[in-house]
């Protein structure tokens, strides 16, 4: 890989952060309460805020015993997970079998204490502990520069059942780098025993690279080293499919659009029932995501810079078309290399989902796949929501401005999902020409 593909700290700051992030945006990202306010106004799903603490008197006046069994107490301006207490359940106390008030909750002789909880690190916290912690937060113990801060209590989002076998006692989150309304790279962070249930890579969580097109995990890093199996087990870390992936991406992009930040990392959690929710904004997302995906961010950012993106749906479509992981190596091993001739019958998937047989030219002299505009129109592929962008193309037909669309077709039985530019091929032998970019894993037999 070329060094220029990789995003370093200098480039992140000079070319992207400073250029595309507004002051208001940075303020939003620094304060979790501000973030929640912005998200609520835009109607984007996020964990509910139960209570904000701005002054010491509010701490004493609040009805702590009235809190649910699970919640998170956080500083608004805490850095990277500092100062957060997450409780999962109330502590249980053995009930004397002879007591008159034995509870009927079916806890097997245990009753729930009203004022003691168990955290995700298996510590006990009482109301007194929580009050003290809140006072510390207000004093600025966890904020940048130790400035006085605001504390708040937020809904606890539990672990989705899809990740039950992978995340240790904590909730994994998905970090998506969004630039110019396009999600460019994604990483899932799995809490481990070492990280104490926190999804923080510095503290020992595992980072999983995620293919933007499919939401399937690809590679894993742990302490900046590549791993393939969950530590201490035989469980594969690649091939995990994240549920609701398109919705996750669209939520991230919608969140970016209201954030005031042109380049940022959006952290998303998957609520078991309510679906993807935005947890926080990061105006300076870390660079490890590149190691988790074994891909360079800079190249992707340059690809996306300057594109006219209409909305979240459009941005997600562009991302899926551009940043598709090519599993061609694995495919070659599993299916072998397929041989094709210069002229092949190809089945294109229409907008409705049907398949239409079309004659195509396999041309290794061309880089990108190109389709005739009348054919694309008749297949329903020229609808607005399928057009990704327009670009100037140089070909044997000269220089012209062409639309680029997403396209799916079957070549020799293998499904290929890619992008194609739309040109007038009415005078040419075939309405579809397939270029080198999509011929990975094929052998072209001429003559």
């Amino acid at each position: 890989m070329k060094i220029s593909n990789i995003l370093g700290l200098n480039a992140r700051t000079k070319l992207y952060s400073y250029k595309y992030n507004t002051i208001v945006g940075k303020k939003n990202a620094d304060s979790k309460i501000q973030t929640a306010r912005v998200l609520k106004k835009a109607g984007i799903a996020h964990p509910l805020l139960y209570k904000k603490f701005k002054s010491l008197s509010e701490i004493d006046e609040y009805n702590w015993e009235g809190l649910p069994d699970s919640f998170a107490l956080k500083p608004s301006r805490g850095l990277g997970g500092e100062g957060i207490i997450v409780v999962k359940k109330r502590a249980l106390q053995r009930v004397d079998a002879n007591t008159q008030n034995s509870d009927r909750s079916g806890n097997g002789g245990m009753k729930k204490l009203k004022d003691v909880w168990i955290t995700t690190q298996r510590d006990r916290v009482s109301v007194q502990d929580l009050k003290l912690h809140t006072m510390d937060i207000l004093e600025g113990a966890y904020s940048m520069g130790n400035v006085p801060d605001v504390a708040f209590i937020q809904e606890y989002v539990g672990r989705h059942k899809a990740f039950r076998k992978y995340a240790y006692r904590g909730t994994p989150d998905i970090r998506i780098i969004v630039f110019n309304k396009v999600p460019v790279m994604a990483m899932m962070r799995l809490p481990t025993k070492e990280s104490g249930g926190r999804a923080n890579l510095h503290q020992g969580a595992i980072g999983l690279g995620v293919d933007i097109a499919t939401g399937i995990t690809t590679k894993a890093i742990w302490h900046e080293r590549q791993i393939r199996y969950k530590p201490g087990t035989n469980r594969k870390l690649h091939g995990i499919k994240i549920p609701n992936w398109t919705k996750v991406l669209e939520t991230a992009v919608s969140a970016q659009m209201v954030s005031g930040l042109g380049y940022l990392g959006v952290d998303i959690v998957l609520h078991p029932e309510k679906g993807p929710m935005v947890l926080e904004y990061n105006a300076q997302p870390g660079l490890q995501i590149q190691l988790a995906n074994m891909a360079g961010l800079k190249k992707r950012l340059e690809r996306v810079e300057g594109l006219q993106v209409r909305d979240a749906e459009h941005g997600v479509k562009i991302a899926k078309a551009l940043f598709l992981e090519r599993f061609s190596d694995r495919v070659k091993v599993e299916e072998g290399i397929l041989t094709v001739g210069i002229w092949e019958d190809v089945k294109i998937v229409t907008a409705e989902g049907g398949k239409v047989k079309v004659r195509a030219k396999i041309d290794t002299g061309a880089w990108k796949t190109s389709i005739d505009n009348k054919l694309a129109e008749s297949l329903g592929l020229l609808q607005d929501n399928n057009i990704l962008w327009t670009k100037v193309y140089k070909s044997s037909l000269g220089k012209e401005l062409r639309k680029v669309i997403g396209i799916k077709f079957y070549l020799a039985g293998r499904r290929i999902r890619t992008i194609a530019n739309v040109a007038n091929r009415g005078n040419l032998r075939t309405p579809l020409i397939i270029g080198r970019r999509d011929l990975n894993g094929f052998l072209v037999k001429s003559g």
Binding site: M1, G8, N10, L79, E82, M135, D136, L291, G296
Partner: protein, 293 residues
């Protein structure tokens, strides 16, 4: 693992450069430290009159200043004349030299960060630390720092083990209380440990070391002890390296005699550095697997 070895190696190398020099009793006058001196006689000692050009009252830097022949004030010499005026009025030349060298130190730290990738706790702390090293010597400086970090970490752990839960600021105040005990202890050991540089410990040095310890604790709480130790060692390496810069006699002379060029060049270099958007050396190492794939 190799990263840590590298940092330790650099540390030892620089220490090896400094130790021989610092073990000789170097008398370094700096900004006056508020330590009262006792005079054996009731009358005060006569102050050396530095407006007189008698040789015994001139320090080495003042001598160098004297030797330089100056042309007209404009356009290339305004600061040179200003320096001489200030020195005549009593401002120590040492102070001026250190001030003129500070932008250079800041540039060095910025280059170390943006091109090599050595992080420290910002720019102010490493730069101040390097001046602290000039004042009290790097050995005493690092020694004191280790003492401060050890004491503050132990106090925090003791509080946690004994389950004493206090509010944030009183907790910090108690830690500082314990730290002062420790620093006093080091100073009280002066009659027994015949280390001449211990007597140079000024209050400013201690305060700056406490600032460093505070940052160390913050990172330790937030990220991990490993990260905290890492960034702190890098800060120390940066400070030691800058300390070398500050004590280089030829550099001191040059800066004192050519302040205009120095300031202009350093300012220009700062701007040029800001334009660099490539990878840092450390990132080339961090992403080596990406580059070779």
């Amino acid at each position: 693992m190799y990263k840590k070895l590298f940092i330790v190696a650099v540390f030892l190398f620089i220490l090896g450069l400094i130790l021989p020099g610092s073990l000789r009793a170097q008398k370094i006058y700096l900004t006056p430290s508020p330590i009262p001196t006792f005079s054996p006689e009731p009358e005060s000692l006569p102050k050396p009159d530095i407006t007189q050009k008698s040789p015994e009252t001139l320090g080495p830097l003042e001598e160098i200043l004297q030797k330089q022949k100056l042309g007209a004030v404009w356009p290339t010499n305004p600061i040179k004349y200003a320096i001489r005026g200030a020195v005549k009025a009593g401002v120590p030349a040492n102070t001026l030299v250190l001030l003129l060298l500070l932008p250079l130190v800041a540039l060095v730290i910025a280059v170390a960060r943006n091109i090599i990738g050595i992080r420290g706790f910002g720019i102010f702390l490493p730069a101040s630390l390097s001046v602290v090293f000039v004042a009290i010597g790097p050995v005493v400086g690092i020694g004191l720092f280790l003492v401060i970090v050890l004491v503050s970490t132990s106090v925090r752990i003791i509080f946690r083990k004994l389950k004493i839960k206090l509010q944030y600021l009183p907790r910090m105040a108690l830690i500082l209380w314990a730290v002062v005990f420790a620093v006093l202890g080091v100073l009280f050991s002066a009659p027994y440990v015949k280390f001449s540089q211990l007597t140079n410990v000024s209050i400013f040095a201690v305060l700056i070391l406490v600032l460093l310890a505070e940052d160390f604790i913050r990172v330790q709480l937030g990220k991990s002890a490993k990260t905290a130790i890492g960034i702190t060692s890098e800060t120390l390496v940066l400070s030691l390296f800058s300390y070398l810069f500050l004590t280089l006699k030829p550099l001191q002379s040059y800066v004192l005699l050519n302040p205009e060029i120095t300031l202009l060049v350093v300012g220009f270099a700062d701007f040029m550095l800001a334009r660099y958007s490539g990878l840092r050396l450390r990132e080339l190492w961090r992403f080596r697997k990406l580059i070779s794939s």
